[in-house]
C-alpha cells in the first residue's frame, strides 16, 4: 500500500479541521476527493505534504509503510509526494528553469544520484514540456509571475511531470480552467499514470472526472470521509448535490 491514513485529526490555531479521516491508496490507483467548501479537503492535502501551520493531534499517516510525521516537508517531497497547488505562489526573479533544476537536483541528491548537467536538464525539460503540451516559453519566466490562472495550473502539471512523484495530490487543479486547459491538465495526469504511482484528485466538479477516470470517489464532509464509492458516485453527486448525504448522516 502506498498511503494509509488512519483516524487523522488535525487542527489550525486550535480549531479542529480534520476529525478522523481514514483513507487508503494503493499503487496504480486514482482517487477523487469531493465535498462542499470548507470541509477540510485542502487541509488534508497540506497535512499530507507536511505544512506545519497544521497540527496533527492524533492518528497517523503511513506512506510506503513509513510514518510521515517524522519527515520534513522537503523530505516528503524527495520521497515522492507532490502537491499540485490550488493557488501556486509567485517567486519573482527566479526563473522556472532555475527553480526546477534546483528541485530536480535536490531530489536526486536525496536519492544519492549525481546532479543533472545543464544539457541533460534542458533535454529533460523539453521532453516534459512536450508531454504536458506546453508550447509557450513559460520556463524562461519567473515562477508563476504574471501567469494567467490557466498557465499556473498547467505549470503545476509540468512540475509534476518533471519530478515524477509516486503520490501526486492535485488540489482543485481544475478550478478556474476553461475546457481546453482542463483537457491539457487531465491529459497530463493520464500520461503520467503508471502502475506504481497514484493520484489523489481534489475537485468540486464531476467534469474533470470525465477526463481523469477515478477508481474511487470519496466525499469529505465536516472533517471526515463520510462516503466512498466508484466513479458513479461522482455522477450522483453532480446530479443530486450533497444534501442527500447530509440526510443519510441524519442531519
Amino acid at each position: 500500500m502506498l498511503l494509509s491514513i488512519k483516524n487523522l485529526h488535525a487542527s489550525i490555531n486550535g480549531k479542529e479541521i480534520l476529525k478522523g479521516v481514514n483513507l487508503e491508496v494503493n499503487n496504480g490507483e486514482i482517487h477523487a476527493i469531493m465535498g462542499p467548501n470548507g470541509t477540510g479537503k485542502s487541509t488534508l492535502a497540506s497535512v499530507i505534504a507536511g505544512r506545519d501551520v497544521f497540527e496533527t493531534t492524533s492518528g497517523e499517516i503511513l506512506y510506503k509503510g513509513k510514518n510521515l510525521q517524522k519527515l520534513s516537508i522537503e523530505e516528503r517531497a524527495c520521497e515522492g509526494i507532490f502537491l499540485g497547488f490550488q493557488y501556486p505562489v509567485e517567486i519573482p526573479g527566479v526563473s522556472m528553469t532555475n527553480f526546477m533544476r534546483t528541485a530536480v537536483n535536490e531530489i536526486r541528491k536525496y536519492k544519492g544520484l549525481d546532479a543533472l548537467s545543464g544539457s541533460e536538464f534542458i533535454k529533460l525539460m523539453e521532453e516534459k514540456k512536450k508531454l504536458v503540451e506546453i508550447t509557450s516559453n513559460l520556463t524562461n519566466r519567473s515562477v508563476n509571475e504574471g501567469f494567467s490562472g490557466g498557465e499556473k495550473k498547467k505549470n503545476e502539471i509540468f512540475q509534476m511531470a518533471m519530478l515524477e512523484p509516486m503520490l501526486a495530490i492535485l488540489d482543485e487543479t481544475d478550478s478556474g480552467l476553461d475546457i481546453d486547459a482542463l483537457r491539457i491538465v487531465a491529459n497530463g495526469v493520464n500520461k503520467l499514470r503508471r502502475p506504481d504511482n497514484a493520484f489523489v484528485v481534489i475537485t468540486h466538479y464531476q467534469r474533470l472526472l470525465d477526463y481523469i477516470v477515478p477508481d474511487f470517489v470519496h466525499v469529505l464532509y465536516e472533517g471526515k470521509i463520510v462516503k466512498s464509492g466508484g466513479k458513479e458516485l461522482a455522477l450522483e453527486l453532480e446530479d443530486r448535490g450533497y444534501d442527500w448525504i447530509k440526510k443519510e448522516l441524519g442531519e
Binding site: P92, G93, N98, F99, Q159
Partner: protein
C-alpha cells in the same frame, strides 16, 4: 548563471564567515593614535613628495575642526580615534632579491582568499591590485596594460611615478572638506589603486583591487582614483575581507572617478568585511565616500555594489552629472543580518542638460539587522530635460529586523522628471512551503528567493563577481529563518 546557482546552494550549507583567518606575518606599525606626527610618519614611510604631505596636513587640520556625523540611522558605539593604529605594513623580507618579489606568506594569504597574484595562474582576464592593511602587495598585469597606455598600479606607486596626474585629480571629486571620514582618510590614507585609461582606449581586461585587513587594532584607509579620458572604457571591481576579531575595526575609504567626454566607467564592489558575530560583537565599521564625476558630454558612470559584510555600513556612491547627456547608475544589494546596520544609498546630482540617472536599491534585512536606504536626487535649474528613476525595495526576513527609506528629492526645473518607487515585502511562508514541497530545503529556498529578488542588481556585475555575490547572499543569510 543557473549552473552556478546550484553550486552556490550546495555551499550554503557550509555557512559562517570563511575569511576570518589571520596571517602570521611580521608587521610594522605606526604608533597608536593620531597627531600631526602620525600624518608625517605615514608620508615619510611612503617617501612622498611635498605636495602630498601638505595635502595630508591640510586635511588633518580640517578634520580636527569637524565632528562625527550623527544623521545616519545607525547606532554606533563611540569610536576612540586615539586608540587606532593608522598604518600597518607587512614587513618586507630582506632576502627577497627583486623589488617586485612578493613574500610567499602573502601570496599564500591571497591564494587562500581565492586571489592569485601569479599572472600565469590568473583569473581569466582580470588584473589584480592586492592591498593588505596599509600597503599594496602586488599589482598584476601592469606591464601588459602599459602597452595600451593604461596605468594600473597602487596609489603609492602612482604618487611616485605619476605625481602630475595625482596632483590634478586627487581630491577633485571628493575634497578633503567633504565629510568627517573623507577628511580623516585624506590625512592618513595608506594605499589603494590608481587607474588611468588614455583617450579612446577600451581597457581589454577587468581591473580589480582586493582589500584585506590583517593586523589587529588597525584602521584601513584606502584611496582609489580612476580617470577615464575621452572615449575610454574600463570595468573595475573591488573586493574586501577581514579576519574575525572581537573588537570593531575602522575602515574609511575614498573612491574618486573622473569620466571625460564619451567615457564610461563601471565600478563594482562586493563588500564582505567581517560582519561581527551573531551577538553583534566585533565587525568592521565601514565608512566610505565614493563619488564619480561625468565631466564631459555623454559620459557614463555606473556603480554596482553588493554589501554583505561590516557591522556598520555608511556609504552613498554618487555621480555628479556635469556633462550634457551624461548618465549615472547605481545598483545596490545590501544585506543586514544578526546585528548589522547599513545606511546606504546614492547621490545623483544633475547639472548638465538631458542627464539621466537610475537608482535600483534592494535592501535585505534579517535577524536584528537594520537596513536604511538614503538617497539624494538633485536636479539643478540648468539641468533641463533630465530624468531620474529610483526604485527602493526592502525585503524582510523575520520580525525583529527593520527597513527604512529616506529619499531626498530636489528638482529645480519644470522639464525634468523624477520618479521614486518603493516596496517592502517579506519572504512569505507560502513561498517557502512551495519550494519545500518541491524538495528544496529552507536554506536553499531562501537563497533562491533572495537571489531572485536581487537579480536586477546581480546581472549588472561582471561574471566572476556575480557568482561570488550570489554565494555571499545565500551564506550571509544563513540561519536567518529558523
Amino acid at each position: 548563471m543557473d549552473t552556478d546557482s546550484n553550486k552556490i546552494i550546495d555551499e550554503v550549507t557550509q555557512g559562517d564567515y570563511k575569511y576570518g583567518f589571520v596571517t602570521d606575518i611580521e608587521t610594522e606599525f605606526a604608533p597608536r593614535g593620531i597627531t600631526e606626527e602620525t600624518v608625517r610618519y605615514i608620508s615619510t614611510k611612503k617617501n612622498e613628495p611635498g605636495f602630498m604631505l601638505e595635502f595630508r596636513l591640510k586635511a588633518f587640520r580640517h578634520w580636527l575642526t569637524m565632528t562625527q556625523p550623527k544623521w545616519a540611522h545607525l547606532t554606533i558605539d563611540p569610536i576612540n580615534f586615539q586608540d587606532i593604529i593608522y598604518f600597518a605594513a607587512p614587513k618586507k623580507k630582506e632576502n627577497l632579491e627583486k623589488l617586485d618579489q612578493v613574500d610567499p606568506e602573502l601570496l599564500a594569504t591571497f591564494n587562500k582568499l581565492g586571489i592569485s597574484l601569479e599572472e600565469q595562474k590568473k583569473m581569466t582576464g582580470v588584473a589584480v591590485d592586492a592591498v593588505m592593511d596599509s600597503v599594496s602587495v602586488k599589482t598584476t598585469f601592469s606591464e601588459t596594460l602599459s602597452k595600451y597606455g593604461i596605468i594600473f598600479c597602487s596609489f603609492s606607486e602612482a604618487v611616485q611615478k605619476h605625481p602630475d596626474l595625482i596632483k590634478q585629480y586627487m581630491g577633485s571629486v571628493v575634497p578633503y572638506t567633504d565629510n568627517y571620514f573623507a577628511a580623516l582618510n585624506s590625512a592618513v590614507f595608506s594605499d589603494g589603486s590608481f587607474c588611468y585609461i588614455p583617450k579612446g582606449v577600451r581597457c581589454p581586461i577587468e581591473l580589480s583591487t582586493y582589500f584585506r585587513i590583517n593586523a589587529a587594532n588597525t584602521g584601513q584607509f584606502e584611496r582609489t582614483l580612476i580617470v577615464a579620458e575621452e572615449g575610454a572604457y574600463v570595468s573595475y571591481m573591488e573586493g574586501c575581507t577581514a579576519p574575525q576579531r572581537d573588537e570593531n575595526q575602522l575602515h574609511a575609504a575614498i573612491v574618486e572617478i573622473v569620466a571625460m567626454k564619451d567615457a564610461e566607467v563601471k565600478y563594482s564592489t562586493v563588500q564582505n568585511w567581517y560582519p561581527g558575530d551573531k551577538n553583534g560583537k566585533g565587525g568592521i565599521y565601514n565608512f566610505v565616500t565614493k563619488r564619480g564625476i561625468c565631466k564631459g558630454n555623454n559620459a557614463k558612470i555606473s556603480w554596482t555594489q553588493v554589501e554583505t559584510g561590516s557591522s556598520i555600513t555608511w556609504k552613498y556612491p554618487g555621480c555628479i552629472l556635469l556633462g550634457d547627456n551624461s548618465v549615472g547608475e547605481f545598483y545596490s544589494v545590501a544585506v543586514t543580518n544578526n546585528h548589522q546596520q547599513a545606511d546606504t544609498g546614492s547621490k545623483m546630482i544633475h547639472l548638465g542638460k538631458n542627464t539621466r540617472s537610475i537608482i535600483i536599491s534592494k535592501g535585505i534585512s534579517a535577524g536584528k539587522g537594520q537596513n536604511s536606504y538614503r538617497g539624494l536626487v538633485k536636479v539643478t535649474k540648468n539641468a533641463i530635460n533630465s530624468r531620474n528613476y529610483s526604485q527602493c525595495d526592502s525585503l524582510l526576513l523575520g520580525s525583529q529586523c527593520g527597513a527604512h527609506t529616506f529619499p531626498y528629492i530636489q528638482v529645480g526645473n519644470k522639464s525634468s522628471v523624477v520618479e521614486h518607487e518603493a516596496t517592502t515585502s517579506k519572504i512569505s511562508e507560502d513561498q517557502l512551503f512551495y519550494c519545500q514541497q518541491r524538495g528544496i530545503d529552507t536554506e536553499s529556498a531562501i537563497g533562491l528567493i533572495v537571489n531572485g529578488y536581487a537579480k536586477e542588481v546581480l546581472k549588472q556585475l561582471p561574471m566572476e563577481f556575480a557568482v561570488e555575490a550570489q554565494k555571499l547572499l545565500s551564506i550571509s543569510l544563513e540561519g536567518s529563518v529558523g
